[in-house]
């Protein structure tokens, strides 16, 4: 059940939409400070499309369906569902309103549709925070272009073709047609694979149609045809990093900490990309080879004429691509693609070596890798080196072959250097503190001592006695390992130079004492007992509580209107239960956001939502927020670090006849009414998931999930909510 809730959340987080009046965004062009870059934020007011989609949803819900299975009914069902999800997508924190990238995309759409103002008025272009190289369209006229796509674009013409393709989907109502087609398809006697196959075939036909119609739109403009080939090239290399740059191994050397040469590969696999993949049967898109075959004859026929790769200006295009590439650093970190973030940040440093932001990205990436490695979960975030092509392989090879303690030490060196370079910044201070703690908690026992004496001096003093038994074992193990041997004494002497810095030595000692104290004193059991009995006084912010009613007896199982109505009451119940519990709560409710509202509240929500997603994926591991300064600011604003996610699903299923119970009831007649009742009543399930995070530290403070056999009547729902909030109130949130 949890997986089900999670998958719904993922669907809702998958994309974001954003409508636009082009003129409005034209004024949003500013050049960010790339040395101290901050993630894009919305500006201005919330766009009109939010109210428009909300109205569409309500109108669709009002329509009475003919019970017969008609196309009109299928269309209405689809529109209801689509409007519901698009409304949520618009407000899930991933969309950025009024930023430079969105404004630019809209201007390109203006260019594409300058002869069709009616269609232009129905198109809304969105920039989605996502590292995936993708763009998509919905039936409501919304087009989403990801940060990953923008970052890889070589020209404005390529962007124009991407948008033209998506406009074609909207113009031809492809998503609606697909829903109708799927409903008509006879699925009787077919397994899931066959159904999926038929569905994907239709989808591929639509994609090829969108290619052709998009081309028709594109060729009427002055954009150069090579934009089309460029798009196909981007898709070919969609899984690879933006840049292919050879990084020097010396980038990861620090005084006293020199990575041995065998930690880097002698050769790297060539970048090949993926084009004519044969098995595209289940894919929604045709393979690139087929698309090229369809498109190339078309644009070869077109005369070059006065076409250009840039109509709005190359400078502006370069700016938005650069923004997207910096934005990708943040996105990779939030998606736990730490190795990619490290590589990407270093490739950007080639042009901007002094950027605090890029250095910070590298430090944060190394910290993420360290924490995952120390918890034994490195494989979750570090791809196998065999799956990587090109220069990125160099980094992946090194990271895969470092010992855990060496990785921790590398990250610590990196963070310490950042901290010394930017002593006034908050994030480097936190990063080095976390890394010191990680080192002393996880690796102080293995080698026991981080030498303060330089290696050469120590070796001269005693060649046989300078290693303790534990260290000898460590060295032996390392020498026996498969793959690169590295330097068995790398860790022991890794901090010699840093110990020379009094500041480091003092902080090292301080952290050591702190950990020692925690180990000897343990937890304050009397305080825990007090909180368990009386509760704590901390404030908890519940972020966008999610509620969905699903009735699997119906053709369209999600009850959209009822879910919305219940979601509103749900918040009242939370507040009521909080009052009864004397629990300080605040609910961040985004359902009330309307077009024309200032974006400030939405911006705060977006930061919190993304931070919660990040912390959730990190499973409460102590990885500080990627947007540390912004998150810390919100901690001050809300006067708490504790933010909670709460999701509830109510599911109704068909009754299940209980023949055995009825037969028993015939003989034991007092039980018969119950047996009959249980055989005819629908089965109800109430499933919930709640997690409280410390958004600054990333700790998961408390977590509960359960699926209970009950309906979602007010009393049951309130009882469950009260119980969930009770557990928050009576659990110590400090870890």
């Amino acid at each position: 059940m949890r997986t089900f809730i999670y998958s719904i959340q993922k669907i809702l987080s998958a994309a974001i939409l954003f409508p636009v009046a082009a003129g409005f965004f034209a004024s949003a062009q500013t050049t960010p400070d790339f040395n101290d870059y901050h993630s894009l934020r919305s500006s201005g007011v919330m766009p009109g499309v939010i109210d428009k989609i909300r109205t569409q949803r309500e109108e669709n819900e009002e329509k009475k369906d003919d019970r017969k299975k008609t196309t009109a009914r299928v269309e209405n069902n689809y529109k209801q569902a689509s409007a519901y999800f698009v409304e949520r997508l618009l407000l899930n924190g991933q969309v950025i309103f009024g930023d430079e990238i969105t404004a630019y995309c809209n201007r390109v759409v203006d260019e594409l549709l300058k002869d069709d103002p009616e269609l232009r008025a129905r198109i809304y272009v969105f920039h989605i925070r996502s590292s995936a190289v993708n763009a998509f369209a919905t039936g409501e006229g919304v087009i989403c272009v990801t940060t990953g796509m923008i970052a890889k674009l070589p020209s404005e013409a390529a962007l124009a073709y991407v948008l033209a393709h998506e406009i074609a989907h909207i113009k031809e109502k492809h998503s609606l047609k697909e829903a109708v087609e799927n409903s008509k398809r006879n699925t009787r006697g077919k397994n899931e694979e066959q159904i999926e196959l038929e569905s994907s075939m239709y989808s591929k036909e639509q994609e090829l149609e969108a290619d052709r119609i998009g081309w028709d739109l594109f060729r009427k403009t002055a954009y150069a045809s090579e934009g089309v080939s460029e798009v196909l090239d981007i898709l070919k290399f969609s899984e690879t990093p933006v840049y292919e740059t050879e990084l020097s191994s010396t980038l990861f050397n620090y005084p006293g900490f020199i990575l041995p040469a065998d930690y880097f590969p002698p050769a790297i696999p060539k970048l090949a990309g993926e084009e004519d993949y044969e098995n595209d049967e289940k894919s929604t898109h045709p393979n690139l080879g087929t698309r090229r075959e369809e498109l190339e004859p078309l644009f070869k026929k077109r005369s070059a004429g006065e076409t250009q790769r840039f109509l709005l200006g190359e400078e502006q295009f370069d700016l938005i691509v650069k923004i997207a590439r910096y934005e990708l650093c943040i996105q990779y970190l939030k998606d736990q693609e730490y190795a990619r973030a490290l590589y990407h940040a270093h490739t950007l440093m080639a042009d901007n070596p002094e950027s605090y932001f890029l250095k910070k990205t590298a430090a944060q990436a190394l910290l993420g890798l360290t924490v995952y490695a120390n918890s034994g979960r490195l494989s979750r975030v570090l791809p196998d080196e065999d799956d990587i092509q090109g220069e990125e392989y160099r980094i992946a090879f090194m990271l895969n072959n470092l010992e855990k303690n060496e990785l921790n030490l590398l990250a610590l060196h990196n963070a310490w250097a950042l901290y010394k370079a930017y002593p006034d910044k908050e994030q480097p201070r936190v990063l080095k503190e976390v890394l010191l703690e990680q080192l002393l908690k996880n690796h102080a026992g293995k080698t026991n001592v981080y030498s303060r004496t330089p290696k050469d001096t120590a070796l001269k003093a005693s060649e046989t006695q300078f290693l303790s038994d534990a260290e000898k074992k460590y060295v032996t193990r390392k020498e026996k390992r498969k793959g690169p041997k590295g330097d068995p004494l790398l860790a022991k002497y890794a901090l010699v130079e840093l110990f020379a810095d009094e500041d480091f030595a003092s902080q090292f000692k301080q952290t050591e004492r702190k950990i020692q104290a925690a180990r000897t004193e343990g937890v304050d059991r009397s305080e825990l007992a007090r909180i368990r009995k009386e509760g704590h006084d901390e404030k908890v912010v519940i972020v966008d509580p999610f509620y969905m009613l699903i009735d699997q007896r119906k053709e369209v199982s999600v009850r959209f209107r009822a879910s919305k109505e219940r979601e509103l009451k749900f918040e009242q119940y939370i507040q009521q239960a909080s009052r009864r519990l004397d629990l300080k709560t605040e609910v961040i409710d985004i359902s009330g956001i309307a077009s024309g509202d200032p974006v400030d509240f939405y911006n705060d929500f977006a930061i919190i939502q993304q931070r919660l997603d990040e912390a959730e994926v990190n499973r409460g591991m102590p990885i500080p927020a990627t947007d540390y300064e912004e998150v810390a600011g919100l901690q001050r604003e809300y006067r708490t670090s504790y933010f909670a996610k709460l999701r509830v699903l109510s599911i109704t299923q068909r009754p299940k006849a209980r023949v055995g119970a009825i037969i028993t009831g015939i003989f034991l007649w007092p039980l018969l009414p119950g047996a009959i009742y249980n055989s005819v009543r629908p089965r109800h399930y109430l499933s919930y998931e709640m997690a409280v995070f410390d958004i600054v530290k990333g700790d998961k403070c408390t977590y509960r999930e359960d699926t209970q056999r009950k309906n979602s009547s007010e009393d049951y729902l309130k009882s469950v909510l009260y119980d969930v909030l009770y557990s928050i109130k009576h659990t110590s949130l400090q870890k």
């Binding site: 007092p670 009950k710 009393d715 309130k718 009882s719 009260y722």
Partner: protein, 245 residues
């Protein structure tokens, strides 16, 4: 009896000393309620028609319920019922008089809420012990002459088991429904007199009055208990209550 009451008190005290846990509905765990118990009187025999018509048993109950644990609540109920029956003097093979038995009882029960529910909400099962004080009077068939009255209350202890569900509306109003079975302790002793009285017809054989009659105090008590046992054996109940605090 003493040990049952002691057991319930121990359970009650233990439940308060248990570690902190969510108890009650939205933190409220004390209910005042009134219930109606009723069911077809399947064992009631009408000697006149020599048949078993569907008479109706009724019982009224009122009491309190306190949620004392996550899934447990304690119930204390007062019960009242009244039941008419006919009897024979023994000399004649047909009813010669009418009698009535009235019961006032107190029941202590433990209610267990199941299916992931937190007391006092949701489906429950209950186990309890009730003590009914029975009073009876034996009259002539036209009811004008009272031949005999019980000289003091007749005690009938009963084990009870129930199953049902409870819902709460508007945070305060409690609706309760279920069924209950009551089995007298004495039935388990297989007392011949009582056992026979319970499962034989209502066509009671009892000769009141003068010396040499068949009257005995024990047979009078046995018939009253038997009638009460039939009344309490199986009932369906609905009730309303208020969740106070």
């Amino acid at each position: 009896m003493k040990k049952y009451i002691t057991g319930i008190i121990v359970l009650f005290v233990l439940s308060f000393s248990a570690p902190a846990q969510n108890v009650g509905y939205m933190g409220r765990h004390f209910i005042v309620h009134a219930d109606y118990h009723g069911f077809f009187s399947l064992l009631k025999y009408n000697p006149r028609t020599e048949s078993r018509p569907f008479g109706w048993n009724s019982r009224l109950a009122a009491g309190v319920e306190a949620a004392v644990g996550r899934r447990i609540s304690l119930v204390a109920d007062y019960n009242y019922f009244s039941r008419n029956f006919v009897y024979s003097s023994g000399a004649y093979p047909y009813p010669t008089g009418k009698a009535v038995v009235r019961g006032n009882g107190v029941e202590l029960a433990v209610k267990f809420y199941y299916g992931d529910n937190i007391a006092p909400l949701g489906p429950w099962q209950r186990l309890g012990v009730a003590v009914h004080m029975l009073n009876g009077s034996f009259r002539s068939y036209d009811k004008n002459t009272v031949y005999a009255r019980t000289d003091g209350p007749v005690i009938l202890p009963v084990f009870t088991y129930g199953i049902g569900f409870q819902r709460i509306f508007k945070d305060r109003l409690v609706f309760n429904a279920g069924m209950q079975i009551g089995i007298p302790f004495t039935l388990l002793n297989f007392s011949e007199e009582f056992f026979g009285a319970t499962f034989s017809d209502d066509y009671a054989v009892y000769t009141p009055g003068s010396s040499g009659s068949q009257y005995t105090s024990s047979s009078q008590h046995a018939y009253l208990k038997a009638q009460a046992a039939k009344h309490l054996f199986y009932n369906v109940n609905v009730g309303l209550g208020v969740l106070l605090f």
